[in-house]
């Protein structure tokens, strides 16, 4: 049975009817049309579905949508500014060559953002830890780590 919830999605209040068995990922992708958040496994093992909820990186595939009521959710679509200017992390990922097939990248960037929001100057271990739950098969992670370092180093 559908229930109504209100929450903040990428800076805007949304009021939606959801089924209890929906995951947040299902809602974002299949109902709300925000397909930037990816499903790589559905079991919380690959991190492709990472979004930020109240400042924390979360696997949206293991998150019942009803739980977001009253919370604030940021997805990859909420990162660039309204006029399309890329977020510094997005820019760094582009410029540092951190993107290949790109399927893992939205989740990867959300994990990195949660880290940088929390820590001004993360160590290399902090960076690796922050994305250890985000699998990538193309890049060997080296340039992804470089990109995150660049953003931290530039502030």
């Amino acid at each position: 049975m559908k229930q109504e919830i209100v929450f903040n999605l990428n800076g805007e209040a949304v009021r939606v009817e959801v089924e209890p068995e929906w995951t947040l990922l299902h809602f974002l992708r299949e109902v709300y049309g925000l397909t930037g958040t990816k499903e790589g496994c559905g079991y919380g093992e690959c991190g492709a579905c990472t979004v930020i909820i109240d400042g924390k990186a979360i696997n949206s595939c293991l998150y019942p949508v009803l739980e977001v009521a009253g919370k604030s959710v940021t997805t990859i679509e909420g990162l660039a500014s309204k006029d399309g200017e890329l977020h510094p992390l997005q820019k760094a990922f582009v410029e540092q060559g951190a993107v290949q097939c790109g399927f893992c990248i939205p989740g990867m960037i959300m994990s990195a953002k949660a880290l940088l929001d929390e820590k001004e100057q993360p160590s290399e271990d902090d960076i690796k830890d922050s994305i250890a739950g985000n699998l990538c098969r193309c890049t060997g992670y080296v340039k992804i780590i470089d990109a995150i370092k660049t953003v931290a180093g530039g502030r």
């Binding site: 790589g40 496994c41 690959c46 990922f93 893992c104 990248i105 098969r137 890049t139 060997g140 992670y141």
Partner: protein
Amino acid sequence: MDGLQIIGKRIPKRDAPQKVTGSAVYIQDLKIPGMLYGKILYSKYPHARILKLDTSKAEKLPGVRAVVTATDIPATFRIGVMKDNPPLKTGKVLSTRDEIVAIAATTPEIAEEALSLIDVEYEELPGIFDPLEAMKEGAPLIHEEMKSNVLKMPWKLVCGDVEAAKKESAFIVEDTFSTPWVTHCCLGTSGCIAQFDTNNNLTMYSNTQIPSLAQNDYIDALAAFGLKNKRVRIVQSVIGGGFGSKLDTYAYEYIAILLARKTRKPVKIIFSREEEFFATSPRQCTITKISHGCDKEGKLTFREIDMILDNGAYTSWGATTPSVMMMPISSLYKVPNIKYVAKCVYTNNTYSQAMRGYGNPQATFAIESSLDQLAEKAGIDPYELRLKNANEPGEITPQHFKITSCGMKECIDEVVKRLNWKEKKGKGGNRGVGMASLIHVGGGARVYKSDGCGTIIKMDDFGKVDVFTGSTDIGQGSETIIAQIVAEVLGISIDDVNVVNNDTDVCPWDVGAHASRTTFVAGNSALGAAKKIKAQILEVAAKLLEEDPASLDIKNGVVFSTKNNEKNTPLGKALRKLHYTAGGKMLMAEYFYDPANENFDKEFKGNLSVSYAYGAHGVEVEVDKETGQVKILNYIAAHDVGKAINPLLLEGQIYGGGLQGIGYALGEKMIYEKGRLMNGNFLDYKMPTAKDVPPVQAVIIESDEQDGPFGAKGIGEPGLVPTAPAIANAIYDAVGVRIKDLPITPEKILKALKEKEGSTK
């Protein structure tokens, strides 16, 4: 090469902005109005007879729009390299990935529920899961009609006289090495959407890495399904990883076509992660018996290899990987006498496909491990043995490869220098260094009759160009490389080059993203087309500027006279003039590049590729002798790439390949128990994470390949080829045990250490 504006620059991948904002559309993200969702019921057993199949309950479930079984396709229709694989099975199932029934429904959940309503009654048959068992006399036959479990693909390469060389060798080593099933782990799972128009022409939205060949496969299938002379259009969405997994067409694609035809609706099939693990075709396991010899000075005298490959239940490109294994076997280092025999064997396991390296990683693991054994026996430093036998430019190898550019020695030297090899080798303390080299095709590979790729370039009114290429971007960045090449030739900004590479209706023909061929072949094709259109532009501008075309050039989008800079015109202006003049014309050029490489002859000899890529990897490890755990302290990956067209993307290929190689060496294995995959998820399949990245250096060696676009060679696959043997060799140097069976787990190391202790006591 002086004066290059765009080639050699670190230019970001052009589709990266779409990917970092989440706006890139992958097959998972694509929806078409009215679309249905397809799901597949797989066999419960690895080997069984289907006694009864009842889909009536599923058909009645509200929301179900179609059910297809083997009865929906002609009994003789088969797919795959040996045409041994019906897309839907009846009678006998041969593996747990055998497709029996498929459903199309209005939602994926309904389709899933419908699957659970299907009744199948099986009679389980004894299965064969070990290729050695399958080869035995009297073993149950997987494909009864084939009369044998050994594939009728007799791989055999003989160069020189191995037996005579054995007699003359001062040192000989012999051993057996084995490698496991491993899988691509594309983060974006497989999927497609099949859609028919009212005239029964098919559009396939797909993430294939072989659009032109897939088109051919589907046309054949439609003909078999009674739809003759139909058009097939393939539209590639953004591809979430390839690595060889999308190099063939698979049953699920034909099932989507059948369901779409039956329902007259677009039908989407997307694999779950679980399906991606068990129902896609991985790199096969191999058992390799190898012997190597050298003379007193350490010159290699012969190499002999006998190999068994688990083909699995059906045949895809995996069965042809021995053709590429022949390359390192015959031509990695100078070895005058070669003998190689390989057998692919049917079992009731999954079936094998290409995966980055196309057999080269399996062969190189055996070769480079064995070479270290030989060095030890001959009392030569493994580095010196490698250097002494290294390939060189101008060489013609026993398999008739013509080596053009070759930076193998430089790569080996870089590894030695950067690892501080001479200080660290053989120093004990549970630390050790190891190295291994590689050869791979770097100038296309003529595995089909053609190794070609087409390019069309069209100029618009504003001096901008559209480049239509047959090549596919699976994440490696070919669209960026092609744009760089075209922009460089035309003297325009890369921002003025639009690359279209995902639609067979407009893109020219190409054999696919494989064999590390795209930069070389598609790059040369783009280069040819760009040169052609440049000549046309200069001719047009020559009339306008009243100059000789030979004295004109283009820079920053302006055509100018090299004699008199004042004589110039912006490119757009010249083109507009052309369009707006009576009897005008438009500028367009096409170019088809098919490298001058050769198909193998009947003896499997011939110059497979126009050029060969070389590399060497070196690694320093530390082994915990109490737990068997291996820690990589330093990793050097040196690659001869001809010319780095884009070092930024090139490094990405090396780092990415390297970590895949580390996974292959130390952790990855598809664990099959009686034909059933036991670790089909990311928790149990040990794919490296960011925390597993060691300190790594990518070293680029430029050897300027004469036939490459701006001197470039391929680099897609080499990054993972020598990783596993380099690590195995380093572990041996550290603790004196040689692990011959990948992956090198702590448990295997401990066991070997224990055996070693036992034997020295």
